[in-house]
Symmetry: C2
């Protein structure tokens, strides 16, 4: 089994959807990522929490065998996010963001994490992503996420990050903003020319597209009877994807395609409940069973 280092955010979320609400529950992109990845590989988590972070959440992460020695506890409050979704469930409306201790987060990579197996740079300031890259020995695979705020505000720094990463994982709106085109094939050409070998575009309920210099892979999202809370779906996708790649240890075409399906499978579980509640009770047999359902969902016979 490989090792996977992730740098990102841990938060306490308050979420309302048409199907219920959850107050001050475990959230944060690196949290969803780590827990999803923990089903496949050894995860090392670098993030920051405040003094108020519940001990039970730490215990849960440890129960998933996530290495939380790099989870820095600082004076002050944990990052909080509050949002709601309409019936379409496709986009969160942010009601309140309190960065708290996350505002001054400057990831310091301790000695034991400086030779990561693979590395995922969560959605933080591109300058900090570069800073993390400078602190570690370059692993076999570096992937990263970003968001509109950085694409608009720190485009130059972001391109410098992208020169150094193997895989960029973003949603379609972010991809169009970064590639400055409505057509995703054109967007992929622009982005792949800057450095990343693989571009993965998340399209929420519509699935995922992966572009590299040689090919394209497309997978629908798994159709679910009930989606309760889409929060963390994209981060869970990235966690399942990178977790599986870390387990296989390679970037072969077959591995990447299967990793995308595992990411989609993990995301399909996350949205079935609030926070990480579905992942808390998930076992690997369920993951394999849904992977096989995914195969049945997408399979068709080739021409004879």
């Amino acid at each position: 089994m490989g090792k996977l280092l992730v740098v990102g955010s841990v938060a306490l979320d308050t979420v309302r959807t048409p199907f219920g609400e959850a107050t001050e529950v475990l959230g944060g992109s690196a949290t969803f990522f780590s827990v999803a990845a923990s089903y496949f590989t050894n995860v090392e988590l670098i993030a920051v929490i405040g003094e108020d972070f519940p001990e039970a959440h730490l215990s849960f992460l440890k129960s998933r065998h996530i290495d939380v020695a790099g989870l820095e506890k600082r004076q002050g409050q944990t990052f909080r996010w509050k949002g709601e979704y309409s019936y379409q469930l496709n986009e969160a409306r942010t009601l309140d963001t309190r960065l708290n201790v996350f505002e001054t987060f400057r990831p310091q990579i301790a000695a034991q994490y400086r030779s990561p197996g693979m590395l995922f740079l969560g959605n933080i300031d591109p300058e900090l992503q570069l800073d993390v890259l400078n602190q570690v020995q370059r692993p076999s695979v570096v992937a990263c996420d970003t968001m509109n705020f950085w694409i608009e505000g720190k485009r130059e720094a972001l391109w410098r990050v992208l020169e150094k990463v193997d895989i960029l994982i973003i949603n379609d709106g972010e991809a169009r903003l970064l590639g400055q085109d409505a057509n995703l094939v054109q967007v992929a050409k622009t982005i792949l020319a800057k450095g990343p070998k693989h571009l993965i575009i998340k399209r929420g309920e519509y699935g995922v597209l992966m572009f590299n210099q040689k090919q394209v892979f497309g997978a629908p999202a798994f159709p679910l009877e009930q989606v309760k809370d889409p929060t963390g779906a994209g981060d869970t996708f990235a966690g399942g994807f990178m977790g599986y790649l870390s387990a296989t240890g390679n970037l072969s075409d077959a591995a990447i395609r299967q990793a995308i399906v595992f990411g989609s499978v993990m995301a399909s579980f996350t949205v079935e409940a609030f926070s990480l509640d579905r992942l808390r009770v998930l076992d690997y047999k369920e993951i394999e069973a849904r992977f096989r359902e995914f195969k049945r969902l997408t399979h068709f016979e080739d021409l004879s």
Copy 2:
């Protein structure tokens, strides 16, 4: 080779997209349907045109071996539609609709068409769809399309149609309106309980979902470097889908899945040019080649 009867509209379109414009070109849902289906099966077209319908368009349909003896020419002008698309290309803005001779279209099925091999009821008043069904001997497969206008205005008549059809082919917005739920799995349950054995939901650039009582099939849309004009993509999909089913003569699971891919392949060609211009110069080898590319787009290894 089977026979496929289609009842619907033939029109002259004026379309503007960010990539160009076309004035008074061949359009109409039954036109796109027929030409796409003509690559797979024998098509019989029932529709209405005005005295102004250009002879060249008739010649083109005949060159595709489409039986146009049921294409009624009446006094007055051909149905005209005028629309434009923004850079997103996902939804047309209708600028002008002139039904002209289509307004009083009452399909009379001539004796030679009353035992169709398969039947596609294009997007017309559900009362007229019922009327067509009453005029013919029920074929092995009946499929139909509809639109928001009928779902909102003639829901009861539409449910009566759906009791009698095997396959409903609509887009996601229409499906949600008809099934009165945001969740497509719930929508599918509602609709399948009313009669259709298969529900096919078209999602434009995001691909297609097919639901029946036993399973779900999902296919992405083929990612294209340039989409010039999305007009007719959905009708082309339906034509390729039904054309292939008509050629195979059965509704086996494997046939339906392949038919959906052939429909997607045909739609991917249509949007590469205005009107039916890409289909005019298409040959079957290109269709097969893109089908195989579609297989590479979606294939991943199952778990060992």
